[in-house]
Amino acid sequence: MAVNYSAKEEADGHPSGGVGVPGGGAVGGGGGGAVKTRKPDNTAFKQQRLPAWQPILTAGTVLPAFFIIGLIFIPIGIGIFVTSNNIREYEIDYTGTEPSSPCNKCLNVSWDSPCTCTINFTLEHSFESNVFMYYGLSNFYQNHRRYVKSRDDSQLNGDNRSLHNPSKECEPYRTNEDKPIAPCGAIANSMFNDTLELYRIDNDTRTPITLIKKGIAWWTDKNVKFRNPTGDGNNLTALFQGTTKPVNWPKPVYMLDTEPDNNGFINEDFIVWMRTAALPTFRKLYRLIERKNNYQPTLQAGKYSLDIAYNYPVHSFDGRKRMILSTISWMGGKNPFLGIAYITVGSICFFLGVVLLFIHHKYGNRNTSADIPN
């Protein structure tokens, strides 16, 4: 019995224990026969002697790091900067706030009263490769918390239940006149609906430029995330039966385009709009202009005119609307920032490396003697 008891004591030696019979595991197990030593194991882990690397940050030890960073960053920066500079970009603000602007007349347009204006511009340089046509909005808070939430992904994914009974998140753009709105929510309701057309003016003749409207959305969005409701047949009108259009829209969702694979929820303009921008100044891909052949640049230098069906009101919140033509590179659109940043940081590091070298040279020796009175 005594042996039993002392075994219990041993088990109780854990600090959090100590309940049970007092003195738990204090002075060895009483009359127990076998003497078990409590000596801790002499292992590297338990004795905290694991092999370790102990870097000491001194000028001498970190010198190489600074030089290496400098030497790597500067070339990268130059590369990025050059690439960015090679990108052609042309931007027109067509908001029409200036009285001289042709679109000034449309400034106070409302959703349902279309207004058209035409802006002529000249490209100084030709755009050699494929050109991406964007519309840009400024001061437009597509990242507003309630705005971002105001959508129903299930509905957009073609879920029939959500189609007729959209999520509450869509309030107050969930139903209109007791009919569910498809697509519901504030994002869809505020979809950009200006129409832009580009003409090349060649000796006073306007040649329309082919704008491709497919292939502007993410493949996954178009094929996975967004789907039209399913049902009998492919007639979208029937499938969207019982729903109503968003308040601001002139026509329902199934009439966004004539082509069936670009209509309804899988309309690419719609998909692009639904991907809410991160910052209040943003651009969204509107159309593609493909290079036709290898002999001609996609957009030659010269005069062009932009026809705008001005529907989208931005003046009320001091927004701006832009049309941007841009080629892209492997790193996306034109943005000199990153290149400059790399070059700057690289240079700073290199400079610091030199400073540290100097410091190391001057104070390093004293350092190794580890004997500096404060």
Binding site: G17, G20, P22, R38, W53, H144, V224, K225, L279, V345
Partner: protein, 1521 residues
């Protein structure tokens, strides 16, 4: 007793108590009734079904679990919500369910809170389960309980034992409940129990059968037990039990703690006992005493909590800012022209700006909640548990001798170990071994020095040191080879070490043996084998011969010469005046039985008795006639009725009979023993073992045995002593007046078998015993002689104390029968009283312990523990101030303090002893004066001499020469301390004490100890550590911030009260310097990092608010946001928090100064929090704006932009940790890599899993797409680099240009061992210089004013020795110093010198001279600060120091003032310096140690001779220099 009320407990008490029992383990606050009634359960009626409930209530089942399966969830949650943070987080999570303000998917927001709660709950559950298991094991132990049906004892589980049950216990069984002892197989009705489980004391304690049941002739039969026991309610006082047993006849007997067997103790030495259960289960005293680990909050945690509050404030400011911003943002669009992206409420109406901002405030609280680190508390808990684990596992904190290791009892104050500023230490058992060795004695004024004994002890010491050298060798061997076969090496090592032990027969082996067998407490060969002093031995023999002759010739004892008489009595007193129990090892725990049968009485003695007894009877007092003490059996049997009734003739007659009987018994014992000794006595004697409650008792008994006066048996009423020639004498013990700390003595009242006189032998502290001596008139020659003896003894006592011995005085008193009778009457009353029993007994003891006759005194050595001086030196170097609080007498304490280097011979000692009658004022004046003295030393002002009738022993024993230039030691005794601790004086006392390097409080009571600690803790706001081993240290241990118990000799009370228990004092060094430092630095860094991490992450979101109309939107996906802290970034910091080592252990030990970083809170200062916050802001700005500019005006969507930011933040955070991590093991690497991989893995899986599942965020395929985008990588590379550049640069520059001590220490560890030793010595030299510099600072108010805290602290520890001296005397001194450039050179207080020099910058010559002098000082200091014993080339050290010192001096601010003068004299100075250095170096090289000792001894003697007033001392100081 009527059947109706007979129950397990008295019926009225059952119900209320039952209710109370619901709250198990809690202290019972209300007392419905003051007592409890216990009746035999056998009287209970048979029909029990309806009583089953009651049975449950009264049973012995142990239940320490907090929860049941059903109550776990609600109860645990309820407990967790006591923590404010949890409530906060749950509140925020619930806020998410409110649609107007929600920021995340509500269910998801609950996840982290639930996770945290679950982790804690699982931990609690696990703990509870292990408690349940251990409970079950205990509950199912078996014991014998009397069964009514079977009419015998049958085996039952412990949990089935009920109050009122009868339990039978056998030898070596553990007591299942608190049991009232009713029967014992021992004829005396005694029972021995071992209380090691309760208090760790391994000696046996006697328990006694309740009086009336002793008288039962037949075997105790539970069925016949009809008495009712009325006793106290269950309480946790182990040392008290009071109650009555009410017999059927209506008579009452008192019950005392001697009748109670406590649960958890073990029955020893007794074959069989039986008793009735009084308290069961949780009401037993053992369990009521058991309150689990305490919860202390560490200093770091308090600081951290303050910073958490700052975080809350920052959070609120951020939220307020966002809310106002949003209000403005909404307002700017006006009422009419609402933008299309501003979504109206569900009802289609827009919120007003004010309302919108109010809603937003709540929303952003949710979004920014991460700023208050949810996982902080959990992480800290995890880290601390791991730290505790590692401290546990440290083999350096394991003591092989006792097979014990460090125990952490408080889990949450590990980091406090790294910040300790004051150590309060007990002396006995903490600094010393608490193994008493008899060293010397003095009997009737003649000293017996026991030289052989000293030699023997020296021999013990040698093997010990030899062994110590051997042990580490073995250790390193096994360490080195541990890679291959660690197990076998260990075996070899063990066998090796045992071999060493056997060869040397060392103390260590003996101790181990004693631990293993555990049969003897406090005995080692060192204590046992005592070489008797030949002179004394001769006297003893002579004395014994005389006695024998006298006895055979029927001569009275008085013919013996007084000296021999004293010698005889002295040894008798040593032998019997104690509570030592004798055991024979062959039958462990079996008492040596010396019951003697009645045989024919010896005539001579019988005559004594005949003459003795009638006189007693004629004295008239019936109570006086009872010779046996209250605890003696004979009195119970015969004398009880006599005592209770009035004196009648018949009873007197009976009494006479009885007394004759008892006397016969004694005589028989005496005679029968005589025959026995011849045969078996001699060989058996060596086998006897003594078990004592305190080690010095055992030491004394062993010492007496060395003089052939050995204790052979002890029963409750008699002690058998074996004497040379006389054989065995049996002393009838009438009373034992136990030791208590107030009386500081113990006495036994015995009847002397030879003279039949009643003798009182008293043994106690000299200070008390000396006062109790019989006043002797100086007229008569005998009295003169006595006086002489006394003064001689007092002298020897002082001498012993100087040697650091514990002194005890032995005295005797012969009582006349009348005196005894008078006293006995009162004493018996006191004993039988129930209220105030202790107080009355105390008074009674005071009455008998007076008019003593001094026999002699003993000196017992309490050896220092291994490594104590080194540990103290090292701890002191670490900036710890060590106070020793001891109950010992001043001289002993001071000498131990010198022995363990607590006081230095070159320190000035201030002794505070208020001896005048009006203590209070004296004390005040005393303190005032000392303070003035000390302060004058700082300010160099002269003060007037002190007047008054007190002694201010201002004894500069030796002028300062060590690295700490001059230091003060304060010695204060208990009486003075009592007044110094009064509110009016405590400030002054503290002001004085904190200027002293070490403080020694002697003669202090436990309460005073705790008051001192409390005073320092509260007034100085310092971190205190108390270390002790005994019950008297408990209060101090509990009061201190960190309580350390030494699991040593004196039981477990200290350990139970402590936060950490270590086997030896020397382990404190590693515990504090290494583990304390590590824990502190790890945790401090982790906490700071935590704040940084969360602030940095939240700031990202905050910056985003500027670009989303302050709408509370977040670009970081809610999943990342919520789990970032919990999963992605938690592991590396935990690993770093557990394993990072800023400086390796060897360096921390070698350079104790590094510990100061913890004391000064260098790792976590308030400004560091803000620096980290600013850094976090900067880093978050970088991490936000680089992606911002990169993706400005692009087609990027929220999450495609937010995900890179998250990634960047993760990289930055982990790299930041990498910069802060000092030691990289594979665990660090893998945790960092794991975190990053985990993030990408989770992101990829999450982004690919489901396109519509996680509204409102819809990050489908984002990560996949990003990883195909080169811009993502470019952003992720540059941002962390830019973010961390400043910190990295700062760390680098700081490490290069202004390295902290810790960084230097780290660099030190990288060097080769040889260079390291060299540098270490140099570093020590540097320390000296730093301190010298501090002196300069302190003399310059302008410089001193902006000195940092650490400087100030150093100043305190290095007070200036400058006494008011004139310049002339100064240079006089200086001249002398030049003549003999040894230590004396260091004598002059350099500070004063500098001061002087500064005042007179024009006197170039004097300055030059003084400068030279100064050099000598520093040089000395440096050399001396080298560890003695290292084989370091002295001369080279001096050379090195030489130039560094010169360099330093020219750069000192002090000298920049007088730089021009210095320039002039510097060249000559250098020459002079070098010269003196050489001389110094060589002289030191030759005989450094000897020189120092010699001179210090001389000086000490001198000073002793002239203990003068302070002002006189100033003069004397100069004269003896």
């Amino acid at each position: 007793m009527s059947q109706g009320t007979a129950g397990g407990e008295g019926a009225p008490q059952v119900l209320p108590e039952g209710k109370e029992r619901q709250r198990r383990g809690r202290r019972r606050k209300k007392k419905e009734s003051k007592t409890r009634l216990v009746r035999s359960s056998l009287l209970l009626p048979e029909a029990e079904p309806e009583k089953s409930k009651r049975t449950v209530l009264a049973c012995n089942q142990l239940k320490t679990t907090k929860y049941t399966a059903l109550s776990f969830l609600p109860k645990n949650l309820f407990e967790q919500f006591h923590r404010l943070a949890n409530v906060y987080f749950v509140f925020i999570a619930l806020l998410n369910f409110v649609p107007a303000v929600n920021a995340f998917q509500p269910e998801l927001a609950l996840a982290p809170v639930l996770f945290i709660l679950a982790v804690t709950a699982i931990k609690d559950l696990w703990e509870d389960y292990s408690r349940y298991r251990s409970d079950k094991e205990i509950n199912h132990m078996e014991c014998l309980v009397y069964s009514r049906n079977e009419k015998k004892y049958i085996s039952r589980y412990w949990k089935e034992v009920k109050v009122g049950d009868f339990v039978q216990l056998r030898c070596n069984e553990i007591i299942p409940a608190d049991i009232l002892l009713l029967s014992s197989s021992d004829p005396d009705g005694l029972c021995h129990i071992e209380t090691a489980n309760l208090d760790g004391e391994t000696n046996l304690k006697q328990r006694q059968v309740v009086r009336r049941f002793l008288e039962l002739d037949s075997e105790f039969d539970p069925l016949k037990f009809t008495s009712v026991i009325e006793c106290e309610k269950p309480n946790n006082d182990l040392s008290r039990f009071r109650g009555y047993i009410i017999h059927e006849s209506g008579k009452r007997d008192g019950l005392f703690k001697e009748n109670l067997l406590l649960r958890g103790c073990t029955i020893r030495n007794t074959e069989e006992v039986a008793g009735i259960v009084i308290y069961a289960g949780h009401e037993t005293k053992a369990l009521l005493n058991n309150n689990g680990p305490r919860y202390k909050r560490s200093k770091l945690e308090r600081q951290m909590n303050a910073d958490v509050l700052w975080c809350v404030l920052i959070l609120l400011i951020m939220c307020l800012f966002s809310a106002i911003g949003h209000g403005l943002w909404v307002w700017q669009y006006g009422e009419k022209k609402k933008p299309i992206f501003d979504v109206p409420g569900p009802d289609g109406k827009y919120l007003s700006p004010v309302l919108a901002s109010m809603y937003l405030f709540l929303t952003v609280i949710i979004v920014f909640q991460v700023l208050i680190p949810i996982s902080l508390y959990v992480s800290i808990e995890i880290v601390k548990i791991c730290q505790v684990y590692f401290i546990h596992q440290d083999k350096d904190l394991y003591d092989e001798e006792t097979d014990s290791q460090l125990q952490c009892r408080a889990l949450n104050i590990t980091e406090d170990l790294g910040q300790v500023q004051f150590i309060f230490s007990d002396k006995t058992g903490t600094l010393t071994e608490n193994k008493m060795v008899f060293r010397r004695c003095t009997v009737s004024g003649i000293e017996y020095s026991h030289d052989d004994n000293a030699k023997r002890l020296a021999m013990y010491q040698e093997p010990d040191s030899e062994e110590e050298e051997a042990a580490p060798k073995g250790g390193t061997l096994s360490q080195r080879d541990s890679i291959c076969s660690h197990q076998s090496i260990k075996v070899i090592h063990r066998s090796q070490s045992t071999k060493t032990h056997r060869r040397t027969g060392s103390r260590a082996e003996a101790k181990r043996a004693s631990i293993l067998s555990k049969h003897t407490a406090f005995s080692s060969p060192m204590e046992k084998d005592i070489m008797p002093d030949p002179r004394l031995l001769e006297k003893v023999n002579e004395c014994a011969k005389h006695l024998e002759v006298m006895r055979s010739h029927e001569q009275p004892l008085s013919y013996l010469s007084p000296e021999l008489c004293d010698v005889f009595d002295f040894f008798i007193a040593l032998t019997i005046c104690n509570t030592v129990v004798v055991t024979a090892p062959n039958q462990p725990r079996q008492k040596v039985r010396d019951r003697f049968e009645l045989k024919s009485p010896v005539k001579t003695i019988e005559d004594f008795i005949r003459r003795f007894t009638p006189s007693r009877l004629t004295s008239g007092s019936n109570s006086s006639s009872s010779s046996s003490l209250a605890t003696s059996k004979s009195m119970h049997r015969f004398g009880l009725s006599v005592l209770s009734s009035t004196s009648t003739d018949s009873t007197l007659l009976k009494l006479e009979e009885k007394l004759a009987y008892s006397a016969q018994m004694n005589n028989n014992g005496y005679s029968s023993q005589q025959g026995r000794t011849a045969g078996a006595g001699a060989p058996e004697e060596g086998e006897l073992r003594y078990e004592a409650e305190s080690p010095d008792e055992a030491a004394l008994v062993y010492a007496a045995r060395a003089y052939n006066c050995s204790l052979v048996g002890r029963l409750s009423d008699q002690v058998s002593v074996e004497l040379p020639h006389l054989g065995t004498l049996s002393f009838e013990v009438l009373h034992t007046l136990g030791f208590d700390s107030v009386r500081k003595r113990m006495s036994v009242v015995v009847r002397h078998p030879l003279t039949d006189e009643i003798n009182v032998y008293t043994k106690g502290a000299d200070s008390v015993v000396m006062d109790l001596l019989l006043p002797c008139s100086s007229d008569d020659p005998r009295g003169k002689h006595q006086k002489k003896i006394r003064s001689k003894t007092q002298n020897y006592l002082n001498l012993y104390a100087v040697d650091g011995l514990r002194t005890l005085c032995i005295a005797k008193r012969v009582l006349s029968k009348e005196e005894y009778g008078c006293w006995l009457k009162a004493h018996l009353e006191a004993e039988s009283s129930i209220e105030n029993r202790e107080e009355l007994l105390f008074q009674s003891a005071l009455r008998i312990e007076k008019n003593l006759h001094l026999l002699g005194a003993t000196g017992i050595e309490d050896r220092l523990q291994d490594g104590v001086p080194e540990t103290i030196a090292s701890l002191r170097k670490a900036g710890l101030q060590i106070w020793v609080l001891t109950g010992d007498k001043q001289e002993t304490a001071v000498n131990i303090a010198y022995a363990c280097k607590l006081l230095d011979h070159d320190e000035e000692i201030i002794t505070l002893n208020a001896e005048s009658p009006n203590f209070q004022e004296t004390c005040a004046v005393l303190l005032e004066q000392c303070l003035q003295c000390v302060e004058s030393k700082f300010s160099n002002n002269t003060i007037d001499g002190a007047t008054g009738n007190m002694t201010v022993g201002f004894t500069p024993l030796y002028p300062p020469s060590s690295s700490v230039l001059s230091s003060l030691g304060l010695v204060i005794d208990g009486r003075t301390l009592a007044y110094a601790l009064e509110p009016a004086l405590e400030d002054k006392f503290l002001a004085l004490a904190k200027r002293c390097r070490s403080v020694l409080c002697c003669r202090s009571t436990p309460l005073q100890k705790s008051m001192v600690v409390k005073l320092v803790r509260d007034k100085l706001k310092a971190m205190t550590l108390a270390i002790g081993d005994g019950a008297n240290d408990v209060s101090m241990i509990q009061v201190a911030d960190v309580g350390v118990g030494i699991s040593g000799q004196e039981g477990m009370q200290a350990v139970m009260a402590s936060d950490f228990a270590i086997p030896r004092f020397r382990h404190l060094e590693k515990l504090l310097l290494v583990h304390g430092h590590w824990c502190y630095s790890r945790l401090a860094n982790m906490v700071l990092y935590f704040f940084y991490k969360n602030a940095m992450f939240v700031a990202l979101l905050f910056w985003y608010q500027f670009y989303c109309g302050f709408s509370g939107s977040s670009m970081i996906d809610q999943w990342y946001l919520i789990f970032f802290n919990l999963f992605f970034s938690s592991l590396p910091q935990l690993i770093t928090g557990v394993l990072d080592k800023d400086v390796p252990a060897e360096v921390l030990i070698a350079v104790p100064q590094l510990y100061k970083s913890g004391q000064n809170m260098e790792e976590y200062q308030p400004h560091m929090f803000w620096m980290n916050m600013i850094d976090a802001m900067y880093q978050s700005l970088v991490c936000f704006f680089i992606p911002y500019f990169t993706y400005y005006d692009s087609e990027v969507d929220i999450f495609s932009w937010g995900t890179p930011i998250t990634t960047i933040a993760l990289f930055t955070i982990i790299l930041h940790l990498a910069i802060e991590t000092k030691t990289w093991t594979f665990l660090h690497w893998s945790s960092c890599i794991f975190s990053i991989v985990l993030f990408f893995f989770v992101a990829l899986v999450y982004n690919a899993s489901c396109p519509v599942c996680h509204p409102p965020s819809n990050p489908y395929w984002t990560m996949e797409r990003l990883m195909g985008d080169p811009m993502f990588y470019f952003t992720c590379i540059i941002s962390p680099v830019v973010a961390l550049l400043p910190r990295f640069l700062y760390r680098t520059l700081q490490g290069t240009l202004f390295p902290t001590q810790l960084q230097l220490g780290r660099q030190l560890s990288k060097l080769s061992p040889e260079t390291r030793t060299q540098l270490l010595t140099k570093l020590n030299g540097k320390e000296t210089m730093c301190q010298t510099q501090l002196f300069a600072d302190s003399f310059f108010p302008s410089l001193g004013s902006n000195a940092s805290d650490s400087y100030k602290a150093d100043n305190q520890s290095t007070p200036l020795p400058t006494s008011p001296q004139t310049r002339e005397s100064f240079f006089q001194e200086h001249a002398k110093a030049e003549h003999k450039p040894d230590q004396t050179a260091a004598a002059s207080p350099q500070g004063a010198l500098l001061y002087e020099g500064n005042k007179l910058p024009s006197s170039a010559s004097s300055l030059e001279r003084s400068m030279g002098f100064h050099e000598v000082r520093c040089g000395t200091a440096e050399v001396e600060s080298l560890p003695v014993g290292t084989t370091f080339p002295w001369s080279s050290a001096v050379d090195q120091a030489d130039f560094s010192l010169l360099k330093w001096i020219t750069s000192t601010p002090l000298f920049s003032h007088i730089g021009t003068v210095l320039q002039v004299s510097s060249s000559s100075l250098q020459n002079e310096t070098q010269d003196s250095m050489c001389v110094l170096g060589s002289s030191l090289q030759v005989d450094f140690k000897g020189l120092k000792e010699e001179s210090s001894n001389n000086l000490q003697d001198k000073t002793k001779g002239t203990p003068t007033d302070h002002c006189k001392n100033d003069n004397s100081e100069t004269t003896f220099l």
